[in-house]
Point group: C2
Chain length 193, copies 2
DNA sequence: CGCTCCTTGTCTCATTTGAGACAGATCTTC
DNA sequence: GAAGATCTGTCTCAAATGAGACAAGGAGCG
């Protein structure tokens, strides 16, 4: 259902369905959509939809998974993998996929995505979190799940705000601001326990 | 090959091919394109291309024909069909299909389109030409093919200029200027013979 | 409750398509 | 001009899709 499929027809059908879904989320919101509507917009039969995806959630989940894949790749570039630079890459990725994230995280999306997004960012923060405030390594107890969660919430909130405002400043700057805020959280919580 | 086809797969294939062609004309110019390239961009097999079109010229011809159809419909709206207003509709249509006309008429297009476009506009001018300069009806000998041709050239040239400049002013104004110029031609040639 | 309307998920069969091979044309490059 | 590559246009067969029907399950409404 989601393994790498190299058949051209299958890839095309899935691409058309993905594009149709994003369009329709923008127009009417995810919750209001029916499978038939998505298929019609994609110029694909409803039967073909069900041959490719279990339901509309499976479709959006694939979209999401691919975006996360791309996000990881953007963030894990060798040269930047171990510097605060990764958060600039992070927001550059968001900007590149703006349409997708606006649709999924915005008003017409669903709280569901926000939760999934946050979960993904939590993983990122856990892996790269020590790099957030330059020089603040190991400042929070590694076993503590609360701090990464908090920082991830901050980042997701920042994304939606940033996109809603029409990206008032460049990735570099929003990344810096987020890092400063995250740094403050790190410093505060590092004195706990 | 171009009769109304209501099969969803056929319509989808043709739509994908049309979109791919426009994209590729923008990127590399019409002449440089191969059928295989167009098919690949469209995510359609080369075999499917040939099942739907004789060659790339047939494809672009269909695109062109559909645009002309839309142009005629835009121009022939009942309420405006018999007033100089049609030339405003004309440029509004151009603006709506800007991407298409830029691709076809611009540098990356082909002189071929310019000729086809001019031919279509000649027909328009012949049908509605008397409306160009308000009150200048019947000012040129109807059998004279030269004047409509000249005016059509003027209009096509105006289109490419207008689009290349990024549409410096609204359809209303470019239409007015063209009508004034056409009017001058009409007046001049009306004294001939 | 009962009724209607819509959506879902699944199925079958006809049809369009994709993959790939092919000969011949055309373009490149030496 | 010869050789190698690329493109064209056509073909075959397997595979994915489209049309349409179907039962089941809500959702809205009187």
């Amino acid at each position: 259902m989601s393994q790498p499929e190299n058949n051209l027809r299958v890839r095309r059908t899935q691409r058309l369905l993905r594009e149709a879904l994003i369009e329709l989320i923008e127009e009417r919101g995810f919750d209001a959509l029916t499978v038939g509507e998505i298929a019609e917009r994609a110029m694909v039969s409803r039967a073909a939809f069900y041959r490719n995806y279990q339901d509309k959630y499976a479709l959006v989940e694939q979209i999401f998974a691919e975006a996360m894949q791309a996000l990881l790749e953007a963030v894990a570039e060798p040269r930047t993998a171990h510097s605060p630079e990764i958060w600039v890459r992070f927001f550059e990725h968001i900007a590149e996929y703006e349409r997708l994230y606006r649709a999924l995280l915005g008003r017409r999306g669903s709280p569901w995505f926000v939760l999934k997004m946050r979960a993904s960012v939590v993983d990122l923060v856990k892996e790269f979190g020590r790099l957030v405030p330059p020089g603040a390594a190991h400042m929070y107890p590694k076993s503590d799940e609360f701090v990464p969660d908090l920082v991830a919430t901050l980042f997701v909130e920042a994304i939606t705000w940033w996109l809603d405002q029409g990206r008032p400043y460049p990735p570099q700057e929003i990344a810096n601001r987020c890092m400063l805020l995250a740094g403050a959280i790190f410093k505060e919580t590092s004195t706990w326990q």
